[in-house]
């Protein structure tokens, strides 16, 4: 473990290096990439939630001036394998039914928005015009919108060749659950519902593909995982791997998980470029985006807790029903998110006896796609809010119930098999209560109540994944969990770092450079970071799941350390010193002998010898100064804790509530750049508030989406949210070279339980519960009036 005080760049809140170009309007996003001769795609999408396609008439569209081609499902399907090739199917045990997936619908549509026809035209205006001229005859089929209905054995089958509508069913857990429930003094049993919402980024999806017979396929796409996509494209399209190049643009306008899957449109755009031998560009419009991606959560939990009268949780039973939509989006199939929500259900709590039964059910909605707090958002709500309900039922202070159950010894393996590496969860929790001034707020609550004001305080825990090692990741997504990086010192003594991940606003150009600058004793401006191009960067699983600061930064550090061994040998040789290496320090672009600091060589001179004048190298030494490292932590997984607390005031007449304070106590191990960590926490909380209070993908009985604009899907503006206070409580992990852990992915998770418990505390009425998200003034008003 390295302490912060020994380092120069790591731990400093420096300005980001990517910002000048973004502030000047010179960022390069997917929408800014246009190749000579580009054609533009517009998709005709289903207007029915479930229907057979009886006829498609594209004649008028084909004849529309400026239209290059009109393409339907069968043609595209004939050119490729079914999209769900074995390498992108998760292997999580249980029973899995795999749908057959092609880019465009053939014969049948399964949700409103299901793509049917692709129009390719000389510009996007023409493509959109011509799309209006496509005539499709549908034969409507019964629509299944409720997963509990879809579960029934007499329900129509959405995928007709399946034996049921259950995409995945399995069980998780360990311990003697029956015994725990027999010995319980009290059993809490409730149905919790976390609605369909997610992380729509401000930049929608987009892709630009080109093809020629010599270099093959080049796909520019704002993907979080270009290497995984390249692998899948090669397999599905049956093109040699050397003829598939995926490039993520330098700048991606947010993703939050939504740009991690392998979408049907990705394959379609590639096929069109191959067919037309012209570049093809597709930029998803907002309506398509709200109809297609970023829909997550959507879990029902029948949760039971076996509780001792002092508040200790002895056991947990949960039956989870997840509405995964059509289940046709690659890699995750809609079920990996609820699976992880189940695996992380017990959160930061020590619950030895657990049994979870998870059914992931298909319906006539778009497939769930990952959204930050991957699968955990409804699970955190159910678990942490349940602890507050237990406290209310047993007349205990929820503070004591939490403290009694929080994990205290590390490493800790949950009954569902998740490894918590290190930390001080109790310390972080107590710090939150101090920051909230809990006892004083409880006192003020009493005073306010006398004046008719309802004040409440609530809190929740969030143990978020900080990358997942290969031990877990290989099974979960059929992909490695390691971080990878290549570090090269160039002919000018500048340092190039190539990473296999591909960021979307996380600030890798700054944070990786901070770590590398310390290792090599150079200035941060001596370092340049390259990413996104699968022809130039080492293989990696992508920027997701808080992997960056845990795994990718660690790989860059290890690559530097490999390089340092060689550099020291060269330095010793040039200085004529007998040295076993590891006897030099790296500072101010120099390599300095510890035993006599007058003996020093500049990094520039070493680079010059190693690259330009290899005759001066020690005899037999290979030329060049570059190293690649793959970092795997010596533990199954790392997590980092965030504890959230809120003080709210509720208006019982309207159900409206105001967040008076929102505080997060946060641990990310060693923060590489504390300013960026705070930014991640702020953004995560506000996304969580949006998901909890303002955002919901609503469907009517016919399966029509009612939220297809940002007017209806209300992502919060600055005026909708409170100030967020962040308090650092960092415990370095012993499992990464710098003690760093990723942060940000799971931050929305604790928000709904924090707000629900605060509102419940404010109302403080026996029997009052908020079991269904979202927490809108209307839902609170209804809960208030139902229990009267």
């Amino acid at each position: 473990m390295t302490t912060v005080s020994e380092t120069k760049w790591v731990g400093r809140a420096i300005r980001r290096r990517e910002d000048p170009r973004l502030l000047a309007g010179k960022g390069k996003y997917i929408g800014d990439i246009t190749l000579p001769g580009t054609t533009y795609v517009h998709l005709v999408r289903s207007t029915h939630a479930h229907a057979r396609i009886r006829n498609i008439d594209t004649t008028k569209a084909e004849n529309y001036p400026g239209v290059v081609a009109v393409v339907t499902g069968e043609e595209v399907a004939a050119a490729m394998k079914p999209m769900l090739v074995p390498s992108i199917i998760p292997r999580l045990g249980g029973e899995l039914q795999i749908p057959t997936v092609y880019p465009l619908a053939i014969d049948k549509v399964l949700w409103v928005g299901d793509p049917i026809v692709a129009i390719i035209a000389e510009n996007k205006y023409i493509a959109e015009d011509a799309a209006q001229l496509v005539e499709i005859e549908y034969e409507p089929l019964p629509v299944l919108e409720d997963p509990e209905e879809a579960l029934k054995s007499d329900s129509p089958k959405i995928h007709e060749d399946w034996k049921s509508n259950v995409l995945w069913h399995g069980e998780l857990g360990d311990g003697d659950v029956e015994k725990a429930f027999r010995e319980a003094d009290y059993i809490l049993s409730e149905r919790f519902y976390g609605h369909r919402t997610g992380c729509a980024p401000l930049e929608t999806r987009g892709a630009v593909a080109s093809y020629d017979d010599f270099t093959g396929l080049t796909l520019y796409i704002n993907s979080q995982r270009p290497h995984i996509l390249r692998m899948a494209l090669s397999q599905i399209l049956n093109i040699p791997h050397d003829k598939v190049r995926v490039i993520a643009p330098k700048d991606v306008g947010g993703a939050f998980g939504t740009k991690a899957p392998i979408y049907r449109e990705d394959l379609l755009i590639c096929y069109l470029a191959m067919k037309l031998k012209r570049p093809v560009k597709w930029i998803e419009n907002r309506m398509e985006s709200l109809m297609t991606i970023g829909q997550e959560r959507d879990q029902i939990h029948y949760l039971e807790l076996a509780v001792r009268k002092d508040g200790k949780i002895l056991g947990l039973r949960d039956r989870i029903i997840a509405d995964v939509g059509d289940g046709r989006t690659g890699v995750y199939l809609g079920f990996v998110m609820p699976w992880l929500g189940a695996a992380y259900l017990t959160n930061a709590f020590d619950i030895p006896n657990v049994h979870i039964d998870l059914s992931c059910v298909v319906t006539n909605k778009p497939c769930l796609s990952p959204s930050r707090a991957f699968g955990e958002f409804p699970a955190r709500f159910a678990m942490d809010y349940a602890l507050h309900l237990v406290a209310r039922e047993l007349n205990l202070d929820p503070r004591d119930v939490f403290e009694k159950n929080i994990i205290k010894k590390f490493p800790y393996v949950t009954a569902t098999g998740i490894t918590h590496d290190s930390g001080d969860y109790v310390g972080a929790f107590k710090t939150l209560l101090e920051a909230l001034d809990y006892d004083r707020v409880k006192q003020e609550q009493k005073e306010a109540r006398k004046n008719g004001r309802l004040i409440g305080v609530g809190f929740a825990m969030g143990a978020e994944m900080s990358g997942i090692g290969s031990q877990v990741f290989v099974a979960m997504e059929n992909q490695p969990g390691y971080g990878s990086a290549t570090v090269k010192i160039d002919t000018h003594g500048m340092v190039q770092v190539l990473e296999g991940d591909s960021p979307q606003g996380q600030g890798h150009e700054t944070t990786i450079a901070q770590a590398v600058a310390d290792e090599l004793g150079v200035n941060i401006d001596d370092i340049y970071i390259s990413y996104g191009d699968t022809f130039a960067t080492p293989f990696a699983s992508g920027t997701l799941g808080n992997r960056g600061a845990s795994y990718t930064v660690s790989a860059a550090v290890l690559a530097c350390r490999k390089l340092k061994t060689k550099i020291q040998k060269i330095a010793a040789y040039l200085l004529g010193i007998e040295s076993d290496s590891e006897e030099f320090i790296f500072a101010n672009r120099e390599v300095i002998w510890k035993k006599d600091n007058s003996k020093r060589v500049s990094l520039d001179d070493i680079a010059d010898v190693a690259i330009m004048a290899p005759t001066k190298l020690p005899p037999g030494m290979e030329a060049g100064l570059e190293a690649t490292a793959y970092f795997e932590a010596n533990i199954a997984s790392m997590l980092s804790i965030g504890v959230h607390g809120a003080v709210v005031e509720v208006n019982p007449k309207t159900g409206d509530y105001k967040i008076l304070r929102y505080v997060v106590v946060d641990d990310c191990g060693v923060p590489i750049n504390p300013m960026l960590v705070r930014g991640q926490v702020h953004g995560g909380v506000v996304m969580g508030i949006g998901n909890t209070r303002y955002e919901k993908y609503i469907y009517d009985e016919a399966g029509q989406p009612l939220c297809t604009t940002l007017m209806e899907y209300h992502m919060p503006s600055a005026a909708d949210v409170p100030d967020i206070e962040v308090i650092e409580y960092n415990v370095p992990t012993p499992y990464t070279p710098l003690g760093t852990k990723g942060k940000g992915e799971g931050v929305p998770g604790p928000v709904p339980a924090t707000l629900a418990s605060a509102i419940t505390d404010a109302i403080d009425r026996p029997g009052f519960k908020l079991l269904n998200l979202p927490l809108t003034p209307e839902s609170i008003w209804r809960a208030l009036n139902e229990d009267k």
Binding site: R15, R16, D19, P20, R21, L22, L23, A24, G25, K26, G27, Y29, G31, D32, T34, P65, G66, E122, N123, Y125, I126, D129, C199, A200, P201, L202, E203, T204, D251, V252, G253, G254, F256, I283, N285, R286, M287, G505, G507, M675, L676, R678, G679, H682, G683, G684, V685, V686, M687, T709, L710, M711, M715, P716, S717, A718, A719, V721, D723, I724
Partner: protein, 182 residues
């Protein structure tokens, strides 16, 4: 000839010549009459700093510009409606080596992550600080309701605006006026 001239559809064919001043430079262009202003800026003039986040709803704010002194969503106007207009986009705000105090504020205070909303956000901040040099936090939040940021949670954006306001307040009047000439 522009490809759109080929279109044989009532109400959409035809072009018109417009003249606009964008970031101080005058452009005279023949544009299809139905081309959106945001597409004109991005595709005809190559000013891709103005972004599209919501496809012609006017809700997300990523395409916000200053047009004749007012904030407008450039996805809600046609290019022909901007004929004769004086426009400021993010590219005209400052140079990389001579940033506008608003840009400096966003940089210093980490007011951006993915950067997609940032140009439009800064255009709204520009018009806020032009009329209200010392906004309160509540005033900043209200002024930015037309710009969605999905990354930052707004906390650092507010700090960025405060930083910019302080920097500008410390400048001599002539310099201040130069910063807000649009």
């Amino acid at each position: 000839m522009h490809p759109l001239q080929d279109v044989q559809k009532p109400g959409v064919e035809g072009t018109k010549t417009i003249q606009v001043r964008v970031n101080g430079q005058i452009y005279k262009r023949e544009v299809p009459i139905r081309m959106l202003l945001v597409d004109f800026l991005r595709e005809e003039l190559g000013l891709t700093g103005t972004h599209v986040g919501c496809s012609v709803e006017g809700r997300c704010g990523a395409c916000t510009i200053v047009l004749n002194g007012n904030n407008v969503k450039s996805c809600l106007l046609l290019a022909v409606q901007a004929d004769g207009a004086d426009i400021l986009t993010v590219e005209g705000l400052g140079e990389p080596d001579n940033l506008h105090p608003i840009q400096e504020g966003f940089w210093e205070k980490h007011g951006l992550q993915c950067g997609y909303c940032t140009p439009g956000m800064m255009m709204s901040v520009y018009n806020l600080l032009k009329v209200n040099p010392h906004p309160s936090v509540a005033e900043i939040r209200e002024a930015l309701v037309g710009n969605i940021c999905r990354c930052t949670g707004y906390e650092h954006i507010i700090e960025a605006v405060q930083y910019a306001a302080d920097r500008i307040a410390a400048m001599p009047k002539e310099e201040r006026d130069k910063l807000f000439s649009y």
